[in-house]
């Protein structure tokens, strides 16, 4: 009965799924963190800090978009 279970896939799932979840969370967290900090810096006239934090937000947005696109590819490719 146990032979039916794909233990390799199961083990991979146990570490890969939380890693994927954390990647998505950190990516969006960087968007929120960067954009909030950038807005604050802009209000205080700290242009350099605003630009750096906007860069952080853009990096997070790119990572998040990549994760969403990968999700869409999984949906369309599954069989």
């Amino acid at each position: 009965m146990t032979a039916a279970i794909d233990s390799d896939a199961l083990l991979e799932l146990v570490w890969a799924a939380p890693l994927a979840a954390l990647t998505v969370t950190i990516a969006w967290g960087l968007v929120v963190f960067g954009s909030t900090r950038a807005a604050g810096a802009r209000r205080q006239g700290r242009t350099a800090s605003a630009v750096v934090h906007l860069g952080v937000a853009a990096f997070g947005a790119a990572l998040f978009t990549g994760a969403v696109v990968f999700g869409l590819i999984i949906m369309t490719a599954k069989g």
């Binding site: 009965m1 146990t2 032979a3 039916a4 279970i5 794909d6 896939a9 199961l10 991979e12 799932l13 146990v14 890969a16 799924a17 939380p18 994927a20 979840a21 954390l22 990647t23 998505v24 969370t25 950190i26 969006w28 967290g29 960087l30 968007v31 929120v32 963190f33 954009s35 909030t36 900090r37 807005a39 604050g40 998040f64 994760a67 969403v68 990968f70 999700g71 869409l72 999984i74 949906m75 369309t76 490719a77 599954k78 069989g79």
Partner: protein
């Protein structure tokens, strides 16, 4: 009209009814946390989810050509077994909606078919290893992995944005929730609408209306399955949405995003690894994880316990109803009278339960979030 055609029409209608309850029941997975944190208004959330479920039904390239494949002997799948399995699944979906408990529609369908196959051909018709691999192990793994992942996600989130202005942070996570709800809805359409297409296609093959071992579903099957799941989602089973969104604990937008985004990442990773998990088990596990990681005592563990009991009962309860339905159908022989009477009885039972719920409060998604 001969009884074979009448039974086929009843099976197709029952499959579409199951598809409707699937959307109605599972709408909560995609929209509950967004509604609870006010990322989306209730009606907007279910409308968006319904549209994406409809679109998702057309996206996936592969239709599940078997139901309970690898779990029951495929040679035993007749229109009567399919009908009985669907009745078992619909019964369980309606019952769990009545009590406001999220449970897996896919497991209910498998349970119904297992029960009907058991009644048709005995224990040798059911493969224990398939049941273990495709139902029991994923049912144990999904909530645990999603719980841990969402718990880790919310702790990381609070580290990252904990010191920032709450207004801006909440606004940012509400926006993120719209993206994760959309992804989950699309994913649900690609998965669950395909199952109904597979059921109807199998019934058409079993009847002889479609030829071949693995034929593509006709366009009317695709469109009707997509429409049924979208209409079910649009109706949005409010009681389950309320349970997942507000009754387990009162969540903030970051928790909503951790539960929904983390849960979606777990689901899609599992799908990518060829280890598909139940959306309901994953998202509910993630909701609990995001709540427990912030404050253990904030979670209503009694309610969580009820949900777990419903998960444990899903397979046997749907199987018992599936087996009984098969038995009653066979009493009438090859006549269509049995399926007609059973369908009318289930319809009447559903109407009574719906009316009882309506007297106590909203049954579908029309209400404000704190209703």
């Amino acid at each position: 009209m001969d009884s074979d055609i009448i039974i086929l029409v009843i099976v197709v209608a029952t499959a579409l009814a199951f598809d409707f309850t699937n959307g109605f029941h599972d709408a909560a997975n995609a929209v509950a946390t967004s509604i609870s944190t006010r990322a989306l208004a209730p009606k907007t959330a279910v409308t968006l989810s319904a549209i994406l479920n409809f679109a998702g039904a057309f996206i996936s390239l592969e239709v599940a050509a078997t139901i309970a494949g690898g779990i029951v002997d495929a040679g035993l799948i007749s229109t009567t077994v399919i009908f009985a399995g669907l009745i078992g699944a619909i019964f369980w979906n309606v019952l769990t909606w009545y009590y406001g408990l999220p449970s897996s529609s896919s497991h209910a369908l498998i349970g119904g078919v297992v029960g009907a196959a058991f009644a048709a051909a005995g224990a040798e018709a059911v493969f224990g290893s398939g049941l273990l691999e495709k139902v029991i192990v994923p049912a144990l793994v999904a909530p645990i992995v999603a719980f841990s992942a969402a718990g880790a996600c919310i702790l990381v989130t609070y580290q990252l944005v904990g010191g920032l202005r709450p207004g801006a942070v909440n606004g940012g996570y509400r926006l993120g929730q719209i993206a994760s709800a959309s992804l989950l809805s699309l994913s649900h359409g690609t998965n669950d609408a395909q199952k109904t297409m597979g059921v109807i296609t199998l019934a058409l093959v079993s009847h002889g209306s479609l030829q071949g071992t693995n034929p593509a579903p006709p366009m009317w099957v695709i469109v009707s399955a997509a429409t049924a799941i979208a209409l079910g989602t649009y109706s949005g089973g409010w009681r389950i949405i309320r349970t997942m969104g507000t009754r387990i604990y009162k969540m903030d937008p970051a928790q909503g995003f951790a539960a929904q985004g983390g849960g979606a990442a777990v689901l899609l990773t599992a799908s990518h690894l060829g280890f598909p998990l139940s959306t309901t088990h994953s998202i509910t596990g993630a909701v609990l994880g995001a709540g427990a990681a912030k404050r253990l005592s904030a979670v209503r563990w009694g309610l969580a316990g009820n949900i777990v009991v419903a998960w444990i009962l899903t397979l046997p309860a749907a199987a018992i109803v599936g087996a009984l339905t098969y038995g009653v159908s066979r009493v009438f022989g090859a006549s269509a009278l049995g399926p007609i009477l059973i369908s009318l009885s289930l319809l009447a039972l559903t109407a009574v339960m719906f009316a009882k719920r309506l007297r106590r409060g909203p049954a579908i998604t029309t209400a404000p979030v704190d209703a």
